[in-house]
Subunit: 502 residues, 2 copies
């Protein structure tokens, strides 16, 4: 390693300060108000006429009790019931973190960027794609903690395949609680996993379930099984979360041309119908509990049948989904997605399509905001950095622009005059350190110098930067009694066999 590299390693990686991003801009509207209403009414008609198949008996009972018509597994409800239940959904809410400085606001202009959640594989440039281990997963969590532009951990970055399936979630929760003082997403696949998340979060926060319900700290993703089906594990997760006052994000997994119609409007009708069904159920379980509207409509590649992400169809579905979510007054979740195989130009342009589509669409939770690759099958160390860079750039785009007299700089303009330059002016000297975004990854070296230095590309730079960030990590202190209680809980639940999948 050269002296220059050594010097670089000693300096911290440049980052913007931690802070949530305000989306100050009016959202972009890709469909008219009439079209929003047409999709909303069509979705209500689907719920009224076709209905949704609910595989969980308890969920069907709750729906029935709230006025839905239940026929065998099918649940149908009229538009009035939906409207009534939507009235109790909060437009904004907060999520508590172990470190109160990392508490989160959602809804309104407040956006949360969450790291990638739950892929099967991990990859980095050196090792390629592989099954991940707990040790690697913990390194990934440390990077999530260090990266200021990531506000929330996304539910376990990838599966630690060196651990048994039935108890793996206990180790993931334990790592999330110990290694992060940021908010983290929990797992909602079935009652047992969800309860383990609640119990362990309570230990980590040093709170009772009542305190947690008053000040939620857990958010979990609920995927309906499109088309028009809610399975038992997801229904259990939803009901358990809602009953404890925690946040469900109802996200139909809707690929146009496969589980939903090939037409964007038709895909949105089914997305909206399923989201409404899930949102209604949360309010039946516990009126007023925070819940989010998840938009995840993308399309299949009609040549291969493979899912396609970060497509233009995805971007405009995200913007239309934001309109639908605002129409019903529910905070909106979208995602940063790509189908790319390498952390190269395709990964970047697909992710930018998704990020811009979401932010212009008025997103509140940008899920999988950093690290997602391979259509969600893989978490990448370099993509985590690439996305963090792009998110920081979006943060700067959204910062307020001052036109105060000193910023208009008329005095400096008069002082410099025609043909001069502003490098040495006091106006520049007063501002240059903070004036422009300092990138983590972008390289603006003149081309010949860049070649002479080895023609190092963006993904290679990302591979050099993340180990430096990892070296900057400092474990946040968890009080000893909580750490002990956490370990005892995990030990007990492992002895009981964990939560086997049926």
């Amino acid at each position: 390693m050269s002296r220059r590299s050594d010097n670089r390693a000693a300096k911290p990686v440049p980052q913007r300060a931690y802070g949530q991003v305000k989306r100050r801009l009016a959202p972009v509207e890709v469909i008219s108000a009439d079209q929003v209403e047409a999709i909303h009414l069509a979705a209500l008609r689907v719920l009224d006429e076709t209905g949704i198949r609910v595989l969980d008996g308890g969920a069907r009972d709750l729906f029935r009790g709230a006025g839905a018509r239940v026929d065998d597994l099918m649940v149908r409800f009229d538009p009035g019931m939906v409207a009534e239940r939507l009235r109790t959904v909060p437009a904004t809410f907060r999520l508590a973190a172990r470190n109160p400085l990392h508490d989160l606001a959602l809804g309104g202009q407040d956006m949360v960027f969450a790291s990638v959640g739950e892929p099967a594989y991990v990859m980095d440039l050196a090792g390629g794609r592989r099954e991940g281990s707990l040790a690697e997963m913990e390194d990934y969590l440390r990077l999530v903690q260090v990266l200021n532009v990531i506000h929330q951990e996304g539910g376990g970055p990838f599966e630690p395949m060196d651990l048994p399936a039935a108890t793996r979630h206990l180790d993931i929760y334990s790592s999330q609680i110990r290694l992060l003082d940021k908010n983290w997403q929990t797992q909602t696949l079935g009652h047992a996993r969800t309860m383990d998340g609640l119990e362990m979060a309570a230990i980590g926060m040093g709170q009772s379930f009542e305190e947690m319900a008053a000040r939620p700290c857990l958010l979990g993703i609920i995927n309906t099984n499109s088309p028009l089906q809610l399975d038992v594990p997801m229904a259990e997760g939803l009901m358990t979360m809602a009953a404890h006052g925690q946040v469900n994000v109802i996200t139909p997994f809707t690929l146009a041309g496969a589980m939903v119609p090939v037409s964007l409007a038709g895909a949105l009708v089914l997305q909206h119908a399923e989201a409404l069904a899930g949102i209604v159920l949360t309010q039946v379980v516990r009126p007023g509990v925070p819940v989010m509207y998840g938009g995840f409509t993308s399309n299949v590649d009609m040549m291969s049948g493979s899912p396609a992400f970060g497509t233009p169809e995805y971007a405009r579905a995200a913007m239309a989904s934001g309109q639908l979510a605002r129409h019903i007054g529910v905070p909106f979740r979208s995602s940063n997605v790509t189908s790319a195989n390498a952390v190269d130009a395709q990964a970047a342009y697909e992710s930018q399509m998704a990020i811009w589509g979401a932010v212009m669409g008025g997103v509140h939770l940008l899920n999988h905001a950093a690290g997602w690759m391979h259509g969600g099958l893989t978490a990448s160390f370099e993509k985590l950095l690439l996305d963090a860079e792009m998110l920081q750039m979006m943060q700067v785009v959204l910062e307020p622009i001052s036109t105060d007299p000193t910023e208009l700089a008329l005095a400096a303009i008069a002082e410099v005059g025609p043909g001069g330059h502003f490098f040495g002016t006091q106006h520049t000297l007063d501002r240059y350190r903070e004036a422009f975004h300092r990138p983590m990854l972008s390289d603006r070296t003149p081309h010949e110098a860049w070649k002479a230095a080895g023609s190092i590309g963006t993904v290679e730079r990302a591979a050099m930067v993340w180990p430096k960030l990892l070296a900057e990590y400092q474990e946040p202190v968890l009080p000893v009694d909580r750490a002990k209680a956490l370990a005892a809980y995990v030990a007990r639940r492992k002895a009981e066999g964990g939560a086997p999948m049926n």
Copy 2:
């Protein structure tokens, strides 16, 4: 080459049909109406108090005749004169192409995507960066002709360095006219080069100057020398173009922290002041002549002093510039720019920042929309393809979304029912071929299959696609008499020595 590759080569590269893109969405406003007015008034004050240094005596005389105060080289004018001259600027205009199907509309919701113009170097993946030749430049022009998403050629993609400097522009014009039936940008550096463009365009169109003035076919870029200076060659180009009824794009080259203040508001004040000065001059020369407002404000990298492109500062400057242009009723030009050295993730994310910033900002001419690398020093064959892919994606984002009853797909939804799939439904079969964008470059192969096929990245795919597109090129027929006249003009002007730079 494998059999599979052979088969692929025989099929045309998938592209969307040729057609201008309508920006149907309301532009994003990053500053308030009051802030727009504050910047506008500050710019007027700069022009009134400091003024602009105009090095060309003819231009100064024109300004003086129109009521400006001229003191030595300095030209100052009051806000009333600016307002009066802005009144004659057309809000929309058309540009004729050799093929009337390629005529262009600018302003309103109509957008034009132009290819990269005038870098010094060329590069491709196989050969790296180098000085270009006429033969390579002609291949680049052929790709511009073939790529449907490029509506206008951008003024010569790079310098053919195998030709002498004084007559090179004649060969470039000749290639543009012969190889393209799309509209092309001309060169405006000095009176002689501008006149050669006019003369040769007239030959190529088979029109008189009067016919061309009534139906403009030439657009040229005018860069002011920031801060606050208009040099002789640019003034000559501007006046010559305007006098002949052709379109100037007044584009101050404003890097915040160098030629303009480090503050975004201050940078925009100077950009706006200089753009106003140039726009006023066009209307003095020929009231009602079309002219565009060019926004090119970016920032320097304050660590190295290098220009930085595709930055978040650039994206928000583009959106604010669109607001300023709309404020004065002048069609708006922005650009697709990057500082990246390789056609990799950085190139893609910086270009996406620029494209989204421009389109959301209400751009009418997206200049350098495809091919630009290295801060404008280099035209890249693979970047041309990468940008074309990203532009096609933006085209799809902006397409209208139908919510007609058949698109809402209620019948198909009822038919498929819960837990089914839409692959085989008539609703899907009727639409799947055209339902989704078919990419030229994106690869959605499952990861293991992608690795087995050689782990081919995006830039490598671009390097495989552009030769196929080049093979699809067909030279548009130029009537023999025009071709002869063109050759005779070039021969005569070469014999005269061309247009040496002084």
